[in-house]
């Protein structure tokens, strides 16, 4: 599987989608919450002094019923 690098210019956005049930053992009915975190770099830092930053999403709550 090829690795891909994205350069996200100011004002632009990029979207992903995946099935949580496929990735995690969500087998029981109940309340759940999911969060997403991602490391990123600034292009201007890459060559000289690469430092990563982290962004986090809100906690998203959901319910699974039988």
């Amino acid at each position: 599987m090829a690795r891909e690098t994205v350069y996200l210019v100011p004002g632009k956005e990029i979207t992903w989608q995946l099935d949580l049930r496929r990735l995690f053992e969500i087998n029981k009915a109940g309340n759940y919450s999911v969060k997403v975190e991602r490391k990123y770099f600034l292009k201007e830092d890459i060559e000289n002094n690469p430092k990563f930053n982290v962004i986090s999403s809100k906690l998203v709550k959901f319910k699974v019923v039988k």
């Binding site: 599987m1 690795r3 891909e4 690098t5 994205v6 350069y7 996200l8 210019v9 100011p10 004002g11 632009k12 956005e13 990029i14 979207t15 992903w16 989608q17 995946l18 099935d19 949580l20 049930r21 496929r22 990735l23 995690f24 053992e25 969500i26 029981k28 009915a29 109940g30 309340n31 759940y32 919450s33 999911v34 969060k35 997403v36 975190e37 991602r38 990123y40 770099f41 600034l42 292009k43 201007e44 890459i46 430092k51 990563f52 930053n53 982290v54 962004i55 986090s56 999403s57 809100k58 906690l59 998203v60 709550k61 959901f62 319910k63 699974v64 019923v65 039988k66």
Partner: protein
Amino acid sequence: MAYRILIIITLIISYSQLSLLAQNQYEELLMTSQMVVVGRVEKTLSVIDSKKMKEASEDLQKVEEAVLGRLTFFKVEEIVSAEKAIKIKRTVLVYVPKGNWTDSSLPRFKNNERYLLFLSVQQKETFLENAVVSDTNEKKNIFDYEFQPVFKLTKNKHGVVPLTQSNEEILINLRKSTSLRFSQKTIEEFPLLMASLGKSEFSGGESIDLVFTIKNETNYTLVLFDTIAERSFEISVTNDEGKELPLSEIGKEEKIPIL
């Protein structure tokens, strides 16, 4: 002459007793000191080479110095981004040896509250990571709380923090975290990570599609390496008890592929 010698001997004995007392108090401090480090271990970090070991050792020294440092919790009441959350509420804990906590110095953690934790070492504040409180009962002592995840580094009788595999990972993560830069930019200069599910209730067997978007609201070009969603994002699902759900077999294969 004999009187002078007697005074000198008395002074020497007194000094020795004071030194011994101070040493005992110091040893007692080391034995009872316990540092709680809340952070996310790099899950993919499995191989530690000699260079990283050296760097970890250097950081171990910092952790040694930090045992009597200060832990600062930033309570996250609205998670728009980690950087914005810092602005919301700040709770300061002064680290003291176990047993010396006072009610006024303790925050009241509640289940699913989220914190960004900083560690101050010699007046230098280091971002450790963010964490979610995972237990449901209110506790009176910080050492009774459970975070997701929680790591405890305890000094032994020689005053040394045992370097275990998990500690190495924490320390390397700690070193990486020092590169995070929160104070250099204004709020408007951070990207936004938005996540949504479309609806809040799902039936059994129905796919639970998570859609997440990074919007670049900065004036800089962002670089995102390895944009395979399953692998390059830290996605965690917790149940109503605050326990993180394990990856499925498919999830394991996609998160950590065998190349």
